[in-house]
């Protein structure tokens, strides 16, 4: 992941690169496949349905006075009703919380990335795997675990504190601003780390060495050269992380709502789920407003970064400068382990403990039980949700990656008419929070003609997941293709391979590690998805995250722990397989 990946997504810089020569695969393809405009059209239609249609329906719905699928009139009540003082607070909360989590997360990510990439801290490669693991854990799991750990009355951390100090008062209350921010930091840090660690690694060491030769100390070089060179990339990842903070749903839902702290996503959710009559027009208008906010942010990011990304990588292979820390290396090692302990071991440990006691919070020997395991295993609804999630994960990840591969191929390795449009369409859902996309699809499905009964089936979820996953899959495959030179394609052709042999041998064979990386990412994305699922599921098409949330609201934290542990196991198995069998590190995303 380099500093211009976002740029690739945004404006498709790669499309401006010298394109396929007359002997390239793409050119041959165009001759074999005479209906290439038809192919482009098909892609446009698919992407249009996944991105433009729900967006258009969002706008339609925001002007429509009744819920999706009912007769009503058009008015501006929705927009009028969102301009209230309390929504001003909601907006401030949203922006404030996102800023409050992005800044410390960025500092921590820079520190961790520096430790892993630029110091002789022991077991750095292993530490990297541990540090990035939280990124792959569904946030709903850690949210629930932290809900138990930091519960002001019976939370484990507070119990330990009281036991250790003899104090009567709790020190931690996760149901607060601090709780929301803290939970978000756990996700933003590994996310930012993935961006930053490769920039640290890929920087030409002579840029720093020449500063030392000019008389600058190590620290001064770090400030004046290293950080300044990274500034555009840091700004870029800062904004990305900030945007994700605004889109975040789990953290404010779990820790904000009980404390009456509302952000935009939870406000939308509440107005549909927690009111006597769901106010769709209000929710839809609000969704459209948040889209506008996203749009401004993205434009801002684009303007800020225009022409400011430095290429700090030269062709020569080299090892980055590694700083010898002496005894301090155990301090940095300890810091990384501490991060892993707090973000993974603690919540998972809580789930494990919670699953074995009759009531969470009452941890004595006579409360030990396995009844939650049997309850979960005997729960048909859980099994159905599990199989739904697996089915959606397998199908969704595959469909997303196939779509992403085709879109990326067309947009960077051909000069077909319409390729820019395709690229832009595929990127559009990037700006849409899951919650907003969910509402858009609610309208979109309701407005479909009668004989297409998508709403209420798991296909509704599949489409939403594909839309949410496509920007990432396109990005993964774009960088994969960008690394393959045209010579390879042409060389294979020259040596007598037919077009399809070439496609198979060269492109598929060389691009498959990226495909697999993207596939696992998409699978994780589907498994953790909550905000769109919660709007689009119906009886029979529940997924695990939805069932978890429902159990949690019913106060069955113990069963939640059991399911959470199983999901965790799945995450670890997938992540292990990915690292073990797919040599490409995950950060090629």
């Amino acid at each position: 992941m380099t500093d211009n990946t976002a740029g690739t997504l945004r404006g498709s810089k790669l499309a401006d690169k010298p394109l396929a020569g007359p002997n390239s695969l793409a050119f041959r393809l165009s001759r074999y496949f005479t209906g290439r405009d038809a192919a482009v059209l098909t892609l446009v239609l698919i992407l249009g349905f996944l991105a433009v249609y729900p967006l258009a329906m969002l706008f339609y719905g925001s002007l429509h006075s009744t819920p999706p699928g009912m007769a009503g009139e058009f008015n501006l009540d929705g927009y009028r009703s969102i301009f209230t003082a309390s929504n001003m607070v909601v907006l401030l909360n949203t922006v404030g919380i996102s800023l409050a989590k992005t800044i410390p997360a960025l500092l921590m990510a820079v520190l961790l990335a520096w430790i892993v990439a630029r110091t002789d801290t022991p077991y750095r490669d292993k530490l990297e795997v541990l540090i990035t693991l939280p990124f792959f854990v569904p946030p709903i799991l850690t949210a629930m675990a932290w809900g138990m750990l930091g519960n002001p009355q019976v939370g484990l951390l507070n119990q330990v504190w009281k036991w250790a100090t003899g104090s009567q008062t709790s020190i931690i209350n996760v149901y607060s601003y601090g709780g929301v921010v803290w939970h978000m930091i756990q996700y933003s840090t590994p996310f930012l780390f993935l961006f930053i660690v490769d920039i640290f690694r890929a920087m030409d060491p002579s840029l720093e060495e020449s500063s030392r030769m000019c008389g600058a100390s190590r620290w001064r070089t770090f400030r004046n050269i290293t950080l300044m060179l990274m500034l555009p990339a840091l700004t870029n990842s800062f904004i990305l992380s900030f945007i994700r903070g605004i889109e975040s749903f789990e953290s404010p839902l779990f820790f904000g709502t009980p404390a009456k702290i509302t952000v935009i996503t939870t406000e939308i959710y509440n107005s549909i789920n927690h009111r006597a009559t769901p106010d769709y027009q209000y929710a839809t208008a609000l969704s459209f407003a948040i889209m506008a906010l996203m749009f401004i942010l993205v434009i801002w990011q684009w303007r800020l970064l225009r022409g400011r990304t430095f290429s700090t990588v030269t062709g020569k292979g080299y090892a980055p400068n590694v700083m010898k820390l002496g005894k301090w290396k155990w301090v940095t090692f300890g810091f990384c382990i501490l991060f892993f302990f707090v973000t993974v071991v603690l919540p998972i440990g809580q789930l494990a403990i919670g699953s074995f006691f009759r009531f969470f919070g009452f941890y004595s020997r006579d409360m030990l039980t396995l009844e939650h395991y049997s309850a979960v295993l005997g729960n048909a609804e859980v099994w159905r949700a599990f199989s739904n999630t697996m089915l959606l994960g397998l199908l969704g990840a595959t469909a997303t990656m196939v779509l992403g591969s085709v879109v990326a191929y067309v947009s960077i390795r051909t000069r077909w008419r319409g390729r820019r449009l395709i690229d832009a369409l595929a990127w559009l859902p990037w700006m849409m929070p899951g919650m907003v996309l969910g509402i858009g699809f609610l309208w979109a499905f309701a407005m479909l003609p009668g004989p297409i009964p998508i709403y209420g089936t798991i296909w509704a979820l599949l489409l939403a997941y594909m839309a949410l996953g496509t920007p990432v899959s396109v990005r993964v495959m774009t960088s994969a293709y960008a690394q393959l030179s045209y010579d390879l394609e042409e060389c294979s052709r020259v040596h007598g391979a037919s077009f399809f042999q070439t496609l198979w041998r060269i492109l598929i064979a060389l691009a498959w590690p990226s495909f697999a990386v993207g596939w696992v990412l998409a699978f994780f994305g589907i498994m953790r998805e909550l905000s769109a699922s919660i709007l689009l599921y119906s009886v029979g098409s529940e997924v695990l995250s939805v069932v978890l949330l429902r159990l949690w609201s019913n106060g069955q934290a113990e069963q939640v722990s059991v399911i959470g542990l199983f999901m965790m196991l799945l995450v670890i198995v997938f992540r292990w397989a990915q690292l073990r069998f797919i040599k490409n590190r995950i950060s090629t995303l």
């Binding site: 002579s206 030769m213 000019c214 008389g215």
Partner: protein
Amino acid sequence: MAAITLENVSRHFGSVAAVDNVNLNVDAGEFVTLLGPSGCGKTTTLRMVAGLEQNTGGRIAIDNQVVSDANASFFIPPERRMLGMVFQSYAIWPHMTVFDNVAYPLRIRRKSTQEIAEKVKTALRLVEMENYADRPAPALSGGQQQRVAIARALVFEPRVLLLDEPLSNLDARLRTQTGDEFRALQKRLGITSLYVTHDQGEAMALSDRIVVMHSGHILQIGSPEEIYRRPANRGVAGFFGSPNFLPSKVQACAPQADGSFLLTLDGPGWVGPCGCSSALAVGTDVLVMVRPENMRIADKASIGAGEMSWTGPIVQSIFRGTHRSIVAETPAGRLNIDVPSVHNPAVGESITLAADSKAVWATPTN
């Protein structure tokens, strides 16, 4: 006065000795080049002088002041060694303008704004880049970046200039021109320079002395002519061009005025005189180096007493533009010879090749 001194300097990476017991003295104002094949330890040596790499053995002194002593665990970090360095990738900081790049060493030293402006201007004028001061650094060509890198390395008047293949990223024509310009500048300023390259031509043209390295060792130190004419062994000889090596035996040995020795050699089917660096006993096996560019096609009759000659048919003739490469099958073996390309002797024709004793050199076998 020695500007740079290396005493038994070694650098081990694990069990690999990248540099092994190197001894070298560079005089003040001298231009010394480290030359050798890829991976022989040139860069490592240079970086140890710079302080970017720590030597695992031996001592390094700059201006007679020890900067690193492995046995005493003494090490001065690079920023306190006052050395200018030009990197292969130039390492021009892309987030700064040309001016800021060059001014950086002065800002680090907290010079006044006025002094900075003056010195940067002088340095940029030195490399003929004064008109580019306000350019952002990425908007420069390779050659221009290289000039800026030199200006930056010179601006704080360092004791010594270190250069690691500074020309290797330039195209051939620019390489020669920039190299000559740099050499002129170096002479004018009289700045001690330690230069790394794997290009023999570059080394020949620029250096006062050349240090030929091979797998971490120094093979020979000498002026370009010495290294070219009087290589210490077959390895050094083979590094410049592709000379012929003829096995033969010493028939007689006579000392010369310049300290070298004149041998009379007896090879298979030929006898002749040849220079050598040391006295050799009669009957010793030696290898005679004859460079293709130093041979000529001669009439048998015109061959003088100070020359060696061989006769045989031509087996190959290749036109190379600037010259013609001919291979002749002689009793001494196959000989390569370069002749002006206007000559066009036919394949199969028998020719006589001659070489002056000044142009041939004998080294002990092995």
